[in-house]
């Protein structure tokens, strides 16, 4: 027996939740490898950023900086599945949080998708912990999926988030970035 569930064009019987709100969104320009969300209000418990990324060239990587801080204040650990094996690595005292563990990198036709959670981002007494779930598959032996955790060693509330590509390449115009706030 099969079950078919139809959905109305209006979105069906929506059960809206007011605890997950869209703050801002952006798309790639084709001429820049930087996306910045600024003036983020301190009115939520945590932030979530959802990215669907296509790059102007392959094999580069995405990293995260907070409050435009470029000091050696970031650390991360990564667990990735790269097809042939599960691999882990980490980096301390970095100038950003690498989101994808430096394995196969971005592609121009196959989206790399990423969910970034920044917990307790508005705290003025705690360092900030970041959780990342990301992946990219291109119907070959060079896909990857994994998890990353990072810490930004600052007690300043986060008001700016920057997502950069390495190698001087750009986000294509099909790339999308959305910042959400989650209330406690």
């Amino acid at each position: 027996m099969s079950l078919i569930l139809g959905i109305l064009d209006s979105g069906g019987a929506a059960a809206s939740t007011s605890s997950y709100e869209s703050i801002a969104s952006a798309t790639g320009t084709g001429s820049s490898g930087t996306i910045t969300f600024s003036s983020i209000p301190a009115t939520y418990s945590s932030l979530q950023i959802r990215c669907c990324i296509l790059a102007s060239a392959s094999n580069e990587f995405v990293s995260l900086q907070l409050n435009s801080n470029t000091g050696s204040n970031y650390t991360r650990h990564s667990l990735q599945g790269i097809g042939t094996s599960a691999v882990a690595d980490g980096a301390a005292n970095s100038s950003s949080i690498n989101l994808d563990g430096n394995y196969w990198g971005l592609q121009s036709s196959y989206p790399t998708v990423t969910i970034i959670d920044i917990l307790d981002y508005a705290s003025t007494t705690k360092f900030k912990t970041v959780r990342v779930f990301n992946g990219q598959d291109n119907n070959s032996n060079r896909g990857q999926v994994g998890l990353c955790s990072g810490v930004y060693r600052s007690t300043t509330a986060i008001s700016t988030v920057t997502i950069n590509i390495s190698g001087g390449i750009n986000y294509t115009t099909n790339s999308t970035f959305a910042l959400y706030g989650i209330k406690g």
């Binding site: 869209s22 790269i82 992946g135």
Partner: protein, 164 residues
């Protein structure tokens, strides 16, 4: 601020079913999230197809752990997305959450799936990225199993997430 996380549709099975289909999905949202929790009659793997496409347009990369080691695998030119790696278990409920990004856009579609299925000595945990090589907007999706049926009480819910 606008509310952006909506339940589009949900179903809890009143009788066993081989498939669960969501159709006429509006292009209203930025991303979709599909959440499945339940059991099956034969422990088959969970599969997902879009827009009734049964061709070899799907592929995936997996990261999974059981019982004491981590592994990775890849599948190319498949006829479905793999959402589980492991089976959808017979006794203890499995939980699967799948994020489908830019589902209404004109690029290929990439999904992130989380599988949790512990069986008190077996089972496992997995993270899977799936690719559907189509530039069409997703308007329908069908869950199926590699074997057996979804049991009574299995629940599937589709959410829409809308950016500003």
């Amino acid at each position: 601020m606008a509310t952006t996380y909506d339940k589009i549709a949900t179903t809890t099975l009143a009788s066993a079913a081989a498939t669960i289909t969501f159709s006429s999905i509006a292009a209203t949202y930025t991303d979709l999230r599909l959440v499945l929790i339940g059991t099956s009659t034969a422990g088959g793997g969970v599969r997902l197809q879009f827009n009734s496409d049964t061709a070899t347009n799907y592929s995936n990369t997996q990261l999974y752990g059981f019982p004491a080691s981590a592994y990775s695998g890849q599948e190319t030119n498949k006829t479905y997305c793999d959402l589980s790696v492991f089976g959808f278990e017979v006794t203890n409920p499995c939980f699967i959450s799948t994020d489908i990004f830019s589902y209404a856009g004109s690029t290929y579609k990439t999904l992130l799936a989380e599988y949790s299925g512990d069986q008190n000595g077996s089972g496992g945990v997995a993270r899977i990225v799936n690719l559907w090589r189509s530039t069409s907007a997703i308007t329908s999706m069908q869950l199926s199993l590699s074997a057996g049926n979804y049991k009574i009480g299995t629940t599937a819910t589709l959410y829409g997430i809308k950016a500003a």
